[in-house]
């Protein structure tokens, strides 16, 4: 049974108990009201009967006293006012008798009816006697002696006492009935209340027990699943929402278990692939390093001998040979630069590039770079602005690599800017919790689009393929410069807008940590890039 049904049934049960309580209360109230009404009616009838009896007695006494005291020799009859008052009293008694009769039912009504009839005869007899006092004294006395007094005695000493006894019994019955009803209704109310309390408590206990048990199982199951016991299954008997929830937990655990297995398998595969890739990369870097070394040896020979031949040709005046030899020398130098870059990059990736930390003056280093790059500035008609802080001072880093990186950025700026301005700024500031030298190269050149920026620091990559054709270069410079900076604990970032220029910012710690010397970067450095 679902929790919803259980709650619904519990609600209905409590509602039923509430209704039962209400019904018992209404029944008890009705019974008590009836009993109180019976009691009130009995009391009212007793009072009324007492009044009737008292008034009949009083009237009888009045008649008796009148018959005793009335002096027929001095009075013709009872005065009219007295007679009228007498009749009014009779009428009042008669009304009360009929009211009493109207309230009577069953056997009691028969008895009351008899009394009413007898009283009618008595009052008629009294009236006759009253009317005949004096004028027809003998008739009056005869009426009194023969009719009135026996009737009065019968009514007052027999009929009314019997009725009084009957009414007393009725009153006692009404009181006993009231007591009984009050007791029964009180007991019933108490019993139903206790029953309701027990049932409500039982319903609440059962619901609470069911929910608590289910939730406890779910909590323990979820804790075990959360702890990694994915093979654990939550068991809840029944067919309700908690069972559904447990089923969902179990299904989730099954899915997690399967996914976990798959992830483990993928991780194993990835680890193997990564190891293979690292091996391949190391092989490649080793190959490149060895090959670069082997290539540089003949190139140095070509450069050296071409320079010697140029000097000899100049000395001998063979101008046409000098031009050719200069081209050979230039091509060889370019090839050597490329090979050096490839060698450096491969050393970085192979973790074989060492840092040589030394203190040096930052401004002096910058001046060196600017003087070296002066011909490049002049080539494209660019203007240089220097913006250096006065507190640059010294830094302790690999001077060669800092200079190489800055020169690379500066030469790039001169390469991609024509008739523009190149600003070189330097600041000493706190960055990432340590004091750093921040060098920025700002040009007003061609700039780059966001897609071009996204692949800017990849080796052998320039903004576009056409860039390489138009401006030259291999695309190794930026990648190498960034990796050199990162090797020292710094970085190179770029902001650029196509057609407006670029800003390359290079930051290197003022004091490069000694621990970075000889640190293997390799693949991890590549991944970071």
């Amino acid at each position: 049974m679902t929790i919803r049904k259980r709650l619904g049934l519990s609600f209905l049960a409590i509602l039923g108990l509430f209704g039962l309580n209400l019904a018992i209360y209404s029944w008890g109230t009705a019974r008590r009201t009836d009993a109180v009404e019976d009691l009130r009616l009995a009391a009212e009838r007793q009072l009324l009967l007492n009044e009737i009896k008292q008034e009949l007695t009083d009237l009888g006494k009045t008649v008796n006293v009148t018959s005793t005291l009335f002096d027929p020799t001095s009075q013709a009859g009872v005065p009219a006012s007295e007679l009228s008052q007498f009749k009014d009293q009779i009428t009042a008694i008669d009304e009360k008798l009929h009211r009493f009769l109207d309230q009577s039912r069953g056997d009691s009504r028969v008895a009351v009816q008899t009394i009413v009839e007898q009283c009618g005869l008595l009052t008629a007899s009294w009236t006759a006697a009253y009317e005949n006092f004096g004028a027809h004294q003998d008739k009056a006395l005869t009426e009194l002696a023969i009719h009135s007094e026996p009737l009065a005695a019968k009514i007052l000493k027999s009929l009314l006492p019997k009725l009084e006894d009957s009414e007393k019994l009725r009153g006692q019955d009404a009181r006993m009935n009231f007591d009984r009803v009050a007791k029964i209704t009180g007991q019933m109310t108490l019993v139903i209340f206790i029953l309701s309390t027990i049932v409500a408590a039982a319903v609440a206990y059962l619901m609470s027990r069911h929910l608590t048990f289910g939730l406890q199982e779910l909590k323990q199951g979820a804790a075990r699943l959360g702890a990694g016991e994915l093979e654990h299954r939550i068991t809840i008997r029944g067919n309700d929402e908690l069972t559904d929830l447990a089923q969902s937990f179990n299904e989730m655990a099954s899915n997690l278990f399967a996914a976990h297995d798959e992830i483990d398998q993928r991780n194993t595969e990835l680890a193997a692939a990564m190891e293979a890739a690292e091996d391949a990369n190391r092989s490649k870097s080793s190959f490149l390093a060895n090959m670069s070394h082997e290539l540089r040896t003949p190139l140095n020979a070509i450069i050296g001998y071409s320079e010697m031949l140029m000097e000899d040709a100049q000395d001998s005046g063979e101008a046409n040979v000098v031009a050719d030899l200069r081209k050979i020398n230039g091509a060889a130098k370019h090839l050597l630069t490329l090979i050096n870059d490839v060698l450096d990059l491969s050393k970085v990736e192979a973790g074989k590039l060492d840092l040589y930390l030394e203190p040096f003056d930052v401004l002096e280093m910058m001046n060196d770079v600017v003087s070296i790059a002066q011909p490049l500035l002049e080539k494209n008609g660019n203007r240089l602005l220097l913006d250096c802080a006065k507190d640059l001072g010294e830094m302790r880093a690999d001077q060669t690599k800092v200079r190489q990186s800055l020169f690379n950025l500066f030469s790039n700026a001169t390469k991609f800017t024509e008739q523009g301005t190149i600003t070189l700024s330097a600041r000493r500031m706190m960055k990432d919790g340590q004091e750093q030298i921040v060098l920025a190269v700002i040009d007003t050149g061609i700039g780059m689009t966001p897609p071009q920026l996204s692949r800017l620091f990849q080796a052998f990559s320039q903004a576009e393929a056409s860039t390489s054709r138009k401006y030259g270069g291999t695309g190794l410079g930026l990648a190498l410069s960034r990796r050199l900076c990162r090797l020292m604990g710094g970085d190179i970032t770029v902001e650029s807008e196509s057609g407006k220029g670029s800003t390359f910012t290079m930051n290197v710690p003022v004091r490069v940590e000694e621990s970075r010397v000889g640190r293997t970067t390799g693949v991890s450095e590549k991944a970071r890039a």
């Binding site: 008796n64 018959s67 002096d71 027929p72 004294q137 005869t142 023969i146 005695a153």
Partner: protein, 161 residues
Amino acid sequence: MKKSQPLRPFLFPLLALVALASLVRPAAAGDMAVVVHPGVSVDALSFPDLRKILLGDRQFWKPGEPVTLLVRAPVSSERTVLLAKIYSMSEAQFKQYWIAKVFRAESTSGPKIVLSNDMASDLVAAIQGSIALIDSKDVRPGVKVLKIDGASPGDKGYPLK
């Protein structure tokens, strides 16, 4: 003087009648007879019993047979004898006595006042259990005369003379 002269011729005969009446009255008054309804089961009473009955202290001849007292109206020799010999009360005390007795419910009915001995005789003859005190000369057939202390009216020692 002239005004009294017309009465003088009647003065002697009037005085003679009064003197005659005074001579005749003792013989006419006689003893007071206690008369009851013929159905009453009692033929003789002692004077104390008679007194109880007439005082309303005894209200039944026998069970189921109530006593009905018939008393002459004021200013009658029977009533005078009754008040003097039985009640030993004045007229006012007699009335007070019965008012109290009735209102204390010591008696279901008071004495009934009759205008004459004839009426008394007639009612005694008509009403069961009734009793009256009348001049023995006025006793009529249809009623029973009780002996008091064993004596009838006219007998020597009769208490109601």
